[in-house]
């Protein structure tokens, strides 16, 4: 398998790979070198539109293009795409259910040195609350490619969440993904670790730590947060009896909340959450920040044990 690749880079590659479809328009807001839409720009300059530093206008213009039959990828940093342009996404994209795919990069604290102003830790919570939108938070290159493909193949608004940091490959490039279906990466019976994005790798490590203590953890990647795979979550609740979630996002309204919404209404079991706990990020080395904020395999393992102890 390939070495470390940032999911934003895989996003850019996928846009180029699928870009021959004439319906596809890629838009950016003066960040095309960072969001990696520059590859598409080089290959299909007539279908790449730079809107300048104007994210609100980016989203509504994308909506207008979509009303004319285009499949529009609108890219910016997650904090601006979901934050500054929230109401444009809500009213001009999601309410009319238009074919705009928001390619949001630089999500989470692993943005690193740029600090809190650039680290989106609430974007999923914001986007998840809007009707009609689908959300995918891939963990590696193969799942990022799938995210782009799913967004092209399925009508309607999408929010695709990508990271800045190069991450290890979890999936073989021939892996078959299904939109709206989670992936069991490791089976287990004692506790389920449900993760997405950057945290999937740490979830797998946590399972190894737990194995040393004779705890058999199941590891699930929920790449599609919306619509969420209710079946895989309920099955995990029933078969392992307790859950820990792991996400690079505030625990308010993200993956943990989404899992808890399913579990509490269908098959209540303890759900512990690893995520950012009502704090802003800060500047620093991404790996040091992940440690500081508790986004580690060790913390997932500890919370998994806490979850088991609640039984």
């Amino acid at each position: 398998m390939a070495g470390n690749i940032a999911t934003r880079a895989a996003y850019g590659d996928a846009l180029v790979e699928f870009g021959s479809d004439e319906r596809i328009i890629v838009m950016d807001a003066d960040l095309s070198k960072s969001t990696k839409t520059d590859g598409f720009q080089k290959k299909y300059p007539d279908r790449h539109i730079n809107m300048g530093i104007a994210e609100a206008n980016l989203m509504c213009t994308a909506a207008g293009l979509a009303t004319c039959g285009k499949i529009v990828f609108a890219s910016s940093f997650a904090v601006f795409a979901a934050g500054r342009a929230f109401e444009q996404v809500r009213n001009s994209i999601c309410y009319p259910n238009l074919n705009v795919k928001i390619g949001a990069t630089h999500a989470g604290i692993s943005v690193g040195e740029d600090g809190a102003s650039h680290q989106a830790i609430e974007d999923i919570a914001i986007m998840r609350s809007i009707p009609n939108i689908s959300i995918i938070s891939p963990c590696d290159a193969a799942s990022s490619r799938f995210a782009v493909k799913a967004a092209i193949e399925n009508d309607g608004p999408f929010y695709l969440r990508f990271g800045r940091l190069a991450v290890p490959q979890i999936y073989d490039e021939n892996t078959k993904f299904e939109f709206g279906k989670g992936m069991v990466l490791k089976d287990g019976t004692d506790v389920s670790i449900i993760a997405n994005g950057l945290m999937v790798q740490y979830a797998l490590e946590a399972a190894k730590i737990l194995a040393e203590q004779d705890i058999n953890a199941r590891v699930i990647d929920i790449h599609t947060i919306k619509p969420i795979d209710r079946d895989i979550i309920i099955k995990a609740a029933k078969e392992t009896g307790c859950i820990v979630t792991a996400e690079e996002h505030t625990i308010m309204g993200g993956l943990g909340s989404a899992v808890a919404e399913v579990v509490t209404s269908e098959y209540p079991v303890p759900v512990k959450m690893v995520g950012i706990e009502d704090k802003f990020g800060k500047s620093g080395n991404p790996y040091e920040l992940l440690e500081i904020y508790g986004l580690t395999a060790e913390n997932i393992a500890a919370k998994a044990i806490e979850s088991m102890q609640m039984l």
């Binding site: 206008n57 293009l65 004319c68």
Partner: protein
């Protein structure tokens, strides 16, 4: 334009105005003031200018209209109904739970509505996207936009304006309904957007100023706009809020208040009198 044609447009506009009053009265809420001030422009666009077909509201080659000041749904709906997109009787279901006529324009439920609007300034920005698509696809449809003068206070208007000029969207023709009023009073008191024409000129637009209630001026401005290349078009249309109903004209209070049945009847009686004078 021939007098006969002007007369016919005036009659149509009067019927559209009556529809606005019936719809908002029946709903018990809605926005008559800004609907009445842009009625003549809407009438000219839908009955003389635009390449549209009520039987094919989604034809990809059609001209588009975006009511960026979406609170003026009553005039958009009344115009569409009058033009045959849906039955005129349905106007009185406006804003009701079981109606498809949402309080603000919704492209998914109302035939002929090209963009869902209601959050001010987003429509203009969406229109930029439609005009861009026209350029990319080498289609010659035009995109018309209805803007409020108060709406110009939104920052997004200027983001969209910069983009429209940057991408030379001469297929875009926008109207500012310059009635001088917004919810809290005069635009010059609340947050002065003037000088309006100068601002758009500075942003690289081809700007014309007209009387919003004079069909010959509307026609001339649109013809000029069609003949110029390379710049988006802004037509600053000086209007009277509440136009056509004596007790509503120039009153900020009628921005978002529906007429009571008695007021509606009085307003319609005035309009009927006007229709009769046109016939004479």
């Amino acid at each position: 334009m021939e007098q006969k044609e002007i007369l016919s447009l005036k009659k149509t506009a009067t019927n559209i105005r009556k529809g606005i009053l019936r719809a908002t009265c029946s709903a018990g809420s809605g926005h008559p003031g800004g609907s009445l001030s842009i009625t003549d422009i809407m009438t000219y666009l839908y009955f003389k200018e635009m390449n549209i077909d009520p039987k094919e509201p989604k034809n990809p080659d059609r001209d588009r209209f975006v009511m960026s000041k979406g609170h003026c749904a009553p005039v958009l709906y009344s115009t569409l109904a009058e033009r045959g997109f849906f039955p005129v009787e349905d106007l009185e279901t406006l804003r009701k739970t079981d109606s498809y006529l949402e309080g603000h324009p919704h492209m998914r439920t109302v035939p002929g509505v090209d963009m869902s609007t209601g959050s001010l300034a987003q429509g203009m920005s969406a229109a930029v996207g439609m005009a861009l698509a026209g350029k990319i696809d080498n289609k010659d449809y035009r995109v018309f936009v209805g803007l409020g003068d108060g709406e110009l206070e939104e920052g997004l208007i200027w983001e969209a304006s910069m983009a429209a000029a940057h991408y030379k969207l001469d297929n875009m023709i926008c109207f500012v309904d310059y009635n001088g009023l917004q919810i809290d009073g005069k635009i010059t008191d609340v947050m002065n957007p003037e000088p309006i024409a100068d601002k758009f000129e500075a942003f690289g637009w081809y700007v014309q100023s007209i009387d919003a209630h004079d069909y010959e001026q509307i026609e001339k401005a649109i013809e000029n706009a069609k003949n110029q290349k390379g710049k988006p078009n802004m037509i600053v249309a000086h209007s009277i809020k509440g136009k056509g109903v004596s007790f509503m004209e120039g009153q900020a209070g009628w921005h978002g208040v529906a007429p009571k049945p008695e007021e509606r009847d009085r307003a319609i009686a005035e309009l009927d009198e006007y229709l009769a004078s046109l016939d004479a």
